[in-house]
């Protein structure tokens, strides 16, 4: 296990280095930060002075090394807009996104797995057809349209749920969360559902396919021959085999959801990092954009590592043995 983690850590370093390089070239070298930092009527002398103070007069490789050293010392720069360290701005917004995404994933498992099992056990029945048609809908509705419909129905017509913002939050175990207050909870419902619908559809399909691929296998028949109940066969024997693809796919989806919760956060004015990045792009707040990209890449690396560990817990065949 230790060797495995060291190998993965080395891979992570390489990936992060490459990301930093690409980000640097993309954002720092191609655009000109002076255009933004200086007023339009600045003189040549002023330009040269600012360029020198920022190190922009140095050759590109030197600038890159400077950029790397800053990052390594934990200095990701200051936001132009908020005039605070970018890392603080991102970490302030991240919990809101994380809360939204985790709620959506939990919803997709709680709803998707039972429906998928139900459909998978009765292939081509009316239940199966209904669930599968529903899941196609979940996949194909455009996210923004679906979000606006949710607002129309539940906020505008029925008036049951609030449509924008995060509502009241409270701190539980030093985590600020919407779950702690009823107001916060009601604010969370619509955006979480909006984000979850496609995931529910995905989990239904994965589960259904898994059931259909697993139930004809000999070990299921042998489990029956041993006198196990259908319930145990489905919930333990079949389920544990199905969890392998579900964990893989949801692991990948988790990262994507955080990175691309943008649409949902925009529609519901959810104060997460998706909304932050859109605002930052509009305001050309480069330090925030750079930090955001590095942050997201790091997150993907960590998630992949966690998925691999989870994986080996579920599937003994790939369990990494102690040397």
């Amino acid at each position: 296990m230790t060797a495995f983690i060291i190998r993965r850590a080395l891979q992570a370093v390489v990936v992060l280095f490459l990301t930093a390089l690409i980000v640097f070239l993309g954002v720092y070298a191609i655009g000109d930060p002076l255009e933004i930092l200086l007023p339009g009527d600045a003189t040549e002398a002023e330009r040269a002075q600012v360029a020198a103070s920022l190190g922009l007069d140095q050759p590109l490789p030197v600038q890159f090394i400077g950029f790397l050293t800053d990052i390594l010392s934990g200095d990701f720069g200051r936001s132009f807009v908020y005039n605070r360290p970018t890392i603080d701005v991102i970490f302030e917004r991240f919990p809101a996104t994380l809360e939204l995404v985790v709620t959506a994933l939990v919803l997709s498992l709680l709803i998707g797995i039972p429906l998928g099992l139900w459909a998978g056990m009765k292939p081509r029945s009316a239940v199966d057809e209904t669930i599968m048609t529903g899941s196609i809908l979940g996949f194909s509705l455009p996210n923004f349209w679906q979000g606006m419909m949710l607002i129309m129905i539940f906020s505008v017509w029925l008036g049951w749920l609030p449509s924008t913002g995060r509502g009241d939050t409270a701190t539980v175990l030093s985590i600020r969360t919407s779950f702690a207050t009823w107001d916060g909870f009601t604010h969370l419902i619509l955006p979480a559902i909006n984000l979850a619908l496609a995931q529910i559809a995905l989990v239904i399909r994965l589960t259904r396919t898994g059931v259909q691929e697993t139930t004809p296998l000999d070990f299921v028949r042998f489990a029956r021959a041993r006198g196990l109940t259908e319930r145990r066969i489905l919930l333990v024997h079949v389920m544990k085999n199905i969890l392998i693809p579900i964990v893989t796919v949801l692991g990948i989806e988790f990262g994507s959801l955080i990175a691309f919760a943008v649409v949902t956060e925009t529609i519901f004015a959810w104060p997460g990092i998706g909304k932050l990045i859109i605002d930052s792009i509009n305001a050309l707040d480069r330090p925030v954009i750079v930090t955001y990209i590095l942050f997201i890449v790091t997150m993907f690396i960590v998630i992949n590592l966690l998925v691999d560990i989870l994986y080996s817990l579920i599937d003994p065949r790939i369990r990494v043995r102690q040397p």
């Binding site: 000999d218 006198g227 196990l228 003994p316 065949r317």
Partner: protein, 324 residues
């Protein structure tokens, strides 16, 4: 005394898009306590489906359309699902052909054995584990306590089949149906397992149906042999009588397929032709297209001729001719 198992006129059919596959088409079998029956036939003759029918494990759309299966006098055809579940793994156990596939790859051996114990008894976990360990020891698995925490992929094919046998023996069943359990294993392991199962069954007076396509395997094992062809038993009787003096031409052909010590080097006699496709069986005797003794009479269904403990379905039996 009621026999352990009585199967009468069993028919298990599978409706398919191209017609009804009559996998089992009128099978009669009787087995008494502690008796070993060899169920022999070519691939596709319906041996496995016969086994699954006894267990109530025929998968839809297949179903038992006719006949009865009585286990210790109790009718199993049409019995409630829960009743069948309670019998399975407890009084009737089954061992499958491919040991690579019969254990769940993601659950430990301990989990799979303990759940089998607990499916039928309210045994505390610790006690169930002890039972599992003893069962593994009984089938000759070294250091059973350690192996119990292993996973199927850590066992060789032969060892996995031993685990499957240990599981089948957990509740000391009255009947074990072994569906070609040694076919996938190499010859030495095959004979070890064969000897072991024979001994275990003799010790506990367990009835055993040993399914195989190889007459040679059951020759030294079974008390009685039933030969299956195209969904029916074409000949059955005490092993010695059937092997020394077969009456059905198909049985005779199968005996020709068994390599005998004194015939080493000579090519085996093969039964000419192939088994009929299940959807396209000939009228009357299904063996007719491959039979050298066939006549016009054989276009009608041959009924059973009984002779003491044995019986066969043939109009022109191979009476008293000892195969060369």
């Amino acid at each position: 005394m009621t026999p352990l198992l009585e199967i009468e006129g069993l028919k298990t059919h599978f409706p398919t898009a191209n017609g009804v596959v009559k996998a089992v088409d009128g099978v009669d079998v009787t087995l008494s306590k502690g008796e070993i029956l060899g169920l022999v036939g070519e691939s596709g003759s319906g041996k496995s489906i016969t086994g699954f029918s006894i267990m109530g494990l025929v998968e839809p759309p297949g179903e038992i359309v006719e006949g009865s299966v009585r286990f210790k006098g109790e009718e199993l055809v049409g019995a409630p699902r829960e009743r069948l579940r309670m019998l399975r793994g407890d009084r009737i156990a089954m061992i499958f052909q491919d040991p690579m596939m019969t254990l769940n790859p993601v659950l430990s051996i301990a989990t799979q054995m303990i759940e089998t114990v607990q499916a039928h008894r309210n045994t505390p976990r610790r006690q169930a584990r002890k039972q599992a360990r003893e069962a593994l020891a009984r089938v000759g698995i070294p250091s059973p306590d350690e192996r119990l925490d292993g996973y199927p992929h850590e066992f060789s094919g032969g060892m996995r089949q031993r685990v499957a046998i240990a599981i089948a023996l957990l509740h000391e069943p009255d009947l074990i149906i072994a569906d070609e359990p040694t076919t996938a294993l190499d010859v030495t392991i095959q004979s070890q397992i064969l000897a072991q199962v024979q001994k275990l069954c003799a010790d506990t007076e367990t009835g055993l149906i040993w399914i195989t396509h190889d007459l040679g395997v059951v020759a030294g094992l079974a008390h009685r042999i039933a030969v299956m062809y195209a969904g029916r038993i074409v000949e059955h009787g005490p092993a010695d009588a059937l092997l020394d003096d077969p009456r059905h031409p198909y049985t005779q052909g199968l005996i020709g397929c068994v390599p005998a010590a004194n015939r080493r080097g000579e090519p085996l006699d093969r039964i000419p032709g192939t088994a009929p496709a299940p959807l396209n069986r000939p009228e009357g005797c299904a063996f007719r297209p491959r039979c050298t003794r066939a006549s016009r009479t054989c276009e009608t269904e041959p009924h059973q001729t009984r002779d003491g403990l044995r019986g066969w379905h043939c109009f022109h039996p191979v009476a008293g001719e000892v195969p060369a």
